[in-house]
């Protein structure tokens, strides 16, 4: 084969499609919860392509999450891997919520022992709801669980304890 000189004929450098970018981003695991991808997590709000420039709208989860910078650089690497020029825009508004975690993402979380977040209600949660609500144990499915600590090892999680199977577990906070 002759050396590739006509780049327009090279399949890898064919015009980028948004589908290809979404697929590549879906291969990036959440740095702190590698059982789900950043697409499952719902932090990619939009992908737009203008020639070789790939514009991604990235909505951070918890603002103090130390994984955000890593997610951003991994997205940029993935886009460069497709031959695109990444432009990741961090959207600092209220558009990310735990409701954006996909159904598939929730199942993966549960299977890994993290109770997925409950749906966001119109009113913010109260202590009574968090103490009395029917939060299911991801290990045995019991609702006989109690709040141990509103705060956990990362900003996104609380600690609960299951009185049936006597296991502690991490519950995603709803925001």
């Amino acid at each position: 084969m002759s050396p590739v000189s006509d780049f327009s004929q090279t399949p890898a450098l064919a015009p980028l499609s948004a589908e290809a970018v979404w697929w590549a981003l879906a291969q990036i695991p959440d740095p702190e919860l590698p059982v789900i991808s950043i697409v499952d997590l719902g932090v990619v709000r939009d992908v737009r392509i203008e020639e070789s420039c790939v514009h991604v709208e990235f909505t951070p989860t918890f603002m103090g999450c130390p994984a955000l910078d890593l997610m951003r650089s991994q997205m940029e690497d993935a886009i460069r891997g497709l031959g695109g020029e990444p432009e990741v825009e961090v959207v600092l508004d209220d558009s990310w919520s735990t409701d954006r975690i996909t159904a598939e993402g929730r199942e993966k979380l549960r299977a890994a022992g993290f109770a997925p977040p409950t749906p966001r209600a119109p009113e913010p949660p109260t202590l009574v709801q968090l103490q009395r609500g029917a939060f299911r144990c991801p290990w045995c499915n019991s609702t006989a669980t109690r709040l141990e600590n509103l705060f956990g090892p990362t900003p996104c999680r609380s600690l609960r304890y299951c009185d049936d199977c006597r296991q502690p577990f991490e519950q995603f906070k709803t925001i």
């Binding site: 103090g64 508004d93 202590l127 141990e148 509103l150």
Partner: protein, 225 residues
């Protein structure tokens, strides 16, 4: 009373969150029990995350970067409220400060969420989603201390000491709402005192900044990790 410029408003919020985040992190490893060690560490992480986002908006207006705004200003230019600067490694005072701050912050965030400035309103709404958990935590502790024979007098003494500082977090217009909320929760009235105003720094701030910026100052060209 003239309202502060947009960048000053961002710095009021960011400086409060950064300094309080630092103070809360001082409990990491030494809180009275493990759950509170985790709670105060996590709250500190959230507050510093909020500060970072707010500094990024301020930095854009100032034509610099967030770290420079957060760490390179002289002490006198910080706009934080003295409430967050106090070093109070004593549990009742820590809880009193935590609750007073979160209550005042909630009043301020409600106004910002309704702002015509869409960017400010958006970031306030996002911050507030996380602050809900801080408020639940603070109120849980207030109920616990109020319900205990040892806790109540200690909390009351701390609240009386910190009250003029709490009033200084908010401007004249929002202060009455803080008084209403605090008095309703405590079931008693608080003294009508002059607020300790924002920008009137306690000596503790200089010590805090000295410690917080020591690594950055040790590598002025930028540390690489």
């Amino acid at each position: 009373m003239s309202s502060p410029s947009r960048v000053d408003l961002l710095l009021d919020l960011a400086d409060d969150e950064l300094i309080l985040g630092w103070r809360n992190s001082e409990w990491t490893g030494i809180a009275p029990f493990l759950e509170e060690d985790v709670a105060f560490s996590s709250i500190a992480q959230n507050e510093i995350g909020h500060a970072r986002a707010l500094y990024e908006l301020a930095a854009r207006e100032l034509g610099t970067d967030a770290d420079a705004v957060a760490f390179d200003r002289p002490v006198a230019e910080y706009r934080s409220a003295p409430l967050v600067e106090l070093r109070r490694l004593e549990w009742a005072r820590t809880i009193a400060r935590h609750w007073l701050y979160e209550t005042a912050d909630a009043v301020r965030l409600e106004v910002l969420k309704a702002s015509d400035d869409a960017e400010l309103a958006g970031i306030a709404a996002k911050i507030d989603r996380e602050e809900v958990y801080h408020r639940i935590h603070a109120e849980m502790w207030i109920d616990r201390l109020l319900g205990s024979d040892e806790g109540r007098p200690r909390l009351d003494a701390a609240l009386d000491e910190l009250w003029p500082y709490a009033l200084g977090v908010l401007d004249d217009e929002l202060r009455p709402e803080l008084v209403t909320r605090v008095e309703a929760k405590l079931g008693r009235s608080l003294p009508d005192v002059d607020p300790v105003p924002r920008g009137k720094h306690e000596t503790e701030l200089a010590d805090l900044l000295e410690e917080m910026t020591s690594v950055r100052r040790s590598a002025p060209a930028g540390a690489r990790w």
